[in-house]
């Protein structure tokens, strides 16, 4: 969206390469992140003789990112409206345990358990929203309290049993299973290939439609060359990822869930009135209030959505481990916050994209995965990830200063 917008002015400046150059300059923060991810992946691929880019590793990497990525999506919105939520880690842990208990001790089926847990998570998020928006407690403190309470609650419900093992196949499939293959074509999973192809078609069609629409309104658009280049480039990436995943077991349910969450939140934040209001509140709460936007309601919605996504994260994690443990959720919140910041969200509010946070989460997961493959000690892993977080934010601050 931004891409077309900025380039609208570019057209007049002429020249294909000129256009590319100014596109890059004007979107340096966003492109920078993709380039960083590309460089990281390239380095690990070279250092591991291609092992990093293997189907199996990428598939595992994405599955392991899932539960942090959904948290990062919610966290992005919380940070956009200038708050923070520290309770999400143990909230996820606790909600996962609740799911386990419902499944094992109450014998509820999966299709009943999941909605119940999601609703509970949303309610917990709304409590945070109430404390922050209506009572006026700083989000840091309110959610710190929530973190302690959820931690205690998690310990309480797992106290007698210890780790709760889940035997429900359907539930465990969410974190470990893959979409049905239908058939394998040349060693590749057919259903995944079809989904990939559908995604490419959908992408190309929606882009063409949006471009036609713009032309109908007589708006400037990027030159045809750039437009085609962009279509080919993005389609190639989708095709490549699909190819890699299809070479293993295809799309996992975790990846599908993650993609759905990103897709929904991406449209919600960029295309709807609600999304616009969220960013308005983030960039200037007083002006938003005076523009007739209900700041309190937006705060409730954002924290409610955060609660919903923590419950989802808890389900993904519990299902992946096929059990609820006493320490589930430890430090998830900080991983999610780190992913959001690497993804370009700004603590000053009003800035940050859902898609960016997902990339941020994948960057962090890639670092872990790559360093594991290389046998880098855990001590160094933490330090390197810390350095990358700091570098991302430094880059952010620098590019923002330059532009203003």
């Amino acid at each position: 969206m931004n891409l077309e917008a900025n380039s609208a002015q570019v057209v007049a400046r002429g020249g294909f390469f000129r256009e590319v150059r100014s596109l890059v300059r004007e979107n340096v923060r966003e492109y920078g992140m993709y380039i960083a991810l590309f460089v990281i992946m390239l380095i690990f691929t070279i250092l591991t003789d291609g092992l990093f880019m293997s189907s199996r590793n990428i598939s595992n990497l994405l599955d392991a990112t899932g539960y942090i990525a959904v948290l990062a999506v919610g966290m992005t919105l919380v940070i956009v409206i200038r708050h923070i939520d520290l309770s999400v880690g143990f909230a996820a842990g606790f909600m996962g345990a609740v799911a386990a208990i419902l499944l094992t001790q109450f014998g509820l089926p999966v299709y009943a358990t999941i909605p119940i847990v999601l609703v509970l998570g949303t309610l917990a998020g709304l409590v945070n929203g109430f404390l922050v928006a209506s009572v006026g407690i700083p989000a840091f403190v309110a959610t710190l309290a929530g973190m302690l309470i959820f931690r205690g609650a998690l310990l309480r419900v797992t106290e007698k049993t210890g780790t709760i093992n889940i035997k429900d196949e359907a539930f465990n499939a969410i974190g470990n299973g893959y979409i049905p293959e239908i058939a394998r074509v040349g060693g590749l999973c057919l259903s995944s290939l079809l989904i990939g192809a559908a995604a490419i078609l959908l992408y190309v069609f929606s882009q063409i439609r949006s471009r036609r629409n713009k032309l109908k309104y007589n708006f400037e658009v990027v030159s045809t060359g750039i437009f085609v280049l962009k279509l080919v480039f993005v389609s190639a990436i989708i095709a490549y990822i699909t190819y890699i995943l299809a070479g293993y077991n295809g799309f996992s349910w975790t990846v599908v869930t993650m993609l759905l969450v990103v897709l929904i939140y991406h449209f919600l934040t960029t295309k709807t009135v609600l999304g616009r209001h969220i960013y308005a509140v983030g960039s200037n709460p007083e002006a938003a209030h005076l523009s007739g936007i209900n700041v309190k309601k937006i705060t409730y919605v954002v924290f409610g959505s955060m609660g919903l996504l923590s419950a989802l994260s808890g389900i993904l994690f519990t299902s992946r481990l096929q059990s609820a443990t006493t320490t589930a959720g430890t430090l998830f919140e900080l991983d999610a916050i780190a992913a959001a910041y690497v993804g370009g969200v700004s603590a000053a509010g009003g800035v940050g994209k859902v898609t960016g946070s997902i990339i941020g989460a994948i960057v962090m997961a890639s670092l872990s995965s790559g360093m594991n493959l290389l046998g880098v000690g855990i001590s160094y892993q933490y330090m390197i990830r810390g350095a990358v977080l700091a570098l991302a934010v430094i880059f952010d601050v620098m590019t923002r200063k330059k532009r203003s």
Partner: protein, 506 residues
């Protein structure tokens, strides 16, 4: 008779695009009370900021001689060391600390790096005696009224061996008894040899207390009047304050016709629980269709508070009285209610609470009326861009595209975006709070033309302005406010600068 404690010579100070002070000279005799007067924006505060080192040496031209020595203050602490203390309108106290901690904040009584609290309290008592404040020094500042807080500020200044005390509108927030007490105290300090510069809008108290009065206008010294020579009177001061010729910068409307009352308030009172006082008192006012109504008054007279209390009360005042839109009584609980009833408020401080500076023009323009470009919660971005381009052209917002970030625009263009946002909400009544503050003359003229155009389409405008020329040049009727009350209502034919000033300084 050349015993001047302070001489400021040929001071000039520019901000980007504005010349705030031009060649200002200002002399203060030792041991006198010298009043500095002028309209809002005349340069009083800037001059005092130059004097107190807020604007360091080198950012202005001209020289400052204090106590016979040329001074080059690099910061406020330099001027404090030299013996100059300034007490701002917004008090700089720590509400949650005690009185004695406040008096010696930044100037702690210490030995070997440890604060001597007992000695601090003893010395604080002494300072409080000097300002005639009979309270326990351990009282928390937040538990004191504004009047007493002001005395604590003065005590703080005295503790630093101040020779020249500057007070910026000290009585603006005080009631009458408190004001009188303060003036009495200033006279006593004068006896003790402390020189005082007083910035005030209240002419009566100036006449009562001043030894000399210096009038600033448009960043220039107009004259200095001496009480000893019997030069000071209300009329003389007002004449010098407003003396500029009205230039023809206000486009005239040819046709004027007024319809029914679009907005009316009766016995309207607003109490601010945060400040703990009434900000609007017993106000009656109406605006007719096709009318520009001006609200004049000095800063702090309650004009913005009045506007906000009408516009859905975002600050949570306790309201009393009646509000009618098109003759129908209404209660607004949230700005959204007011917007739906057809009222828009273009904020005085567009950067702080008017615009989303980090967002682009189109997102700003549609912010108050997203419904108009969306269906079922989904925004039609193309429609949004079309609408934004329409306003960009209609208001002549100078920018290559509506995708530009608003923070990068000039003040005049930002104001137009702010205006566009509210025009897109299709109001019947537009409340403009200082519509041309901080923008250049050309952009001002454009804003005025837009206002006239809106009126000709049947809209009504309630305009708050501190620029008398603007009020007189644009309004069809003028209300004057002072201390939360409407002190005068003038049809434009009867309004002139002197009359407005009189009502405003009541």
């Amino acid at each position: 008779m050349s015993d001047y404690i302070l001489e400021m010579r040929n001071i000039s100070k520019s901000f980007p695009g504005v010349k705030a002070l031009t060649d200002v000279s200002f002399k203060v005799r030792r041991g006198e009370i010298h009043c500095l007067v002028g309209e809002n924006g005349a340069g009083k505060s800037t001059l005092m900021k130059v004097l107190s080192g807020v604007y360091p040496y080198g950012t202005y031209t001209g020289e400052i001689v204090f106590e016979g020595r040329q001074q080059r203050f690099q910061s406020i602490s330099d001027s404090v060391k030299a013996g100059i203390a300034i007490i701002h309108q917004e008090l700089a106290l720590f509400p949650d600390l005690s009185v004695y901690e406040n008096i010696f904040a930044g100037n702690e009584v210490q030995r070997h790096g440890l604060v001597q609290w007992n000695e601090t309290i003893v010395r604080a008592r002494e300072m409080l005696r000097k300002v005639k404040l009979d309270i326990n020094p351990s009282t928390l500042v937040k538990d004191l009224g504004v009047g007493k807080q002001q005395l604590v500020e003065i005590a703080k200044a005295l503790s630093k061996n101040v020779k020249l005390l500057i007070l910026d509108e000290p009585t603006a927030a005080l009631n009458e008894t408190e004001s009188e007490n303060l003036l009495k105290l200033l006279r006593e300090l004068k006896q003790q040899g402390i020189t005082c510069i007083l910035i005030s809008h209240k002419l009566k108290e100036i006449i009562a207390i001043a030894d000399q009065v210096t009038v600033l206008r448009d960043g220039k010294t107009i004259c200095t009047l001496d009480a000893a020579k019997d030069e000071i009177s209300e009329n003389v001061i007002i004449r010098h304050m407003v003396g500029r010729e009205l230039e023809d910068i206000y486009p005239k409307r040819t046709v004027k016709s007024f319809g029914d009352r679009v907005l009316e308030i009766r016995n309207w009172t607003a109490y601010d629980p945060q400040l703990g006082r009434y900000v609007v008192k017993e106000t009656n006012l109406y605006v007719r269709k096709g009318e520009i109504v001006g609200i004049a008054g000095l800063m702090g007279s309650g004009r913005t508070e009045l506007a906000l209390s009408i516009f859905g009360n975002p600050k949570g005042y306790k309201l009393q009285g009646e509000l009618l839109v098109d003759g129908v009584p209404k209660t607004f609980r949230h700005p959204d209610d007011a917007i739906r009833a057809g009222i828009a408020y273009v904020s005085e401080d567009r950067k702080r609470n008017g615009l989303f500076l980090i967002q682009d023009i189109r997102r700003n323009i549609t912010a108050a009326n997203l419904k108009a470009v969306s269906g079922g919660g989904w925004i039609n971005e193309n429609e949004e861009i079309r609408v934004s381009n329409f306003y960009k052209d209609a208001l002549n917002i100078k920018t290559p595209s509506v995708e530009q970030i608003v923070g990068n625009l000039s003040g005049g263009n930002q104001q137009k975006v702010s205006l566009a946002k509210w025009l897109f909400a299709q109001p019947k009544l537009l409340i403009l709070d200082e519509p041309t503050r901080g923008i250049d003359v050309g952009a001002k003229y454009e804003i005025y033309t837009i206002m006239n155009d809106l009126i000709s389409r049947g809209m009504s405008i309630l305009m708050i302005s501190s620029e008398l020329g603007e009020v007189l040049g644009m309004s069809d009727r003028v209300y004057v406010m002072a201390e939360g009350r409407i002190t005068g209502e003038l049809p434009i034919e009867e309004a002139d600068q002197e009359k407005i000033m009189q009502y405003a300084t009541l």
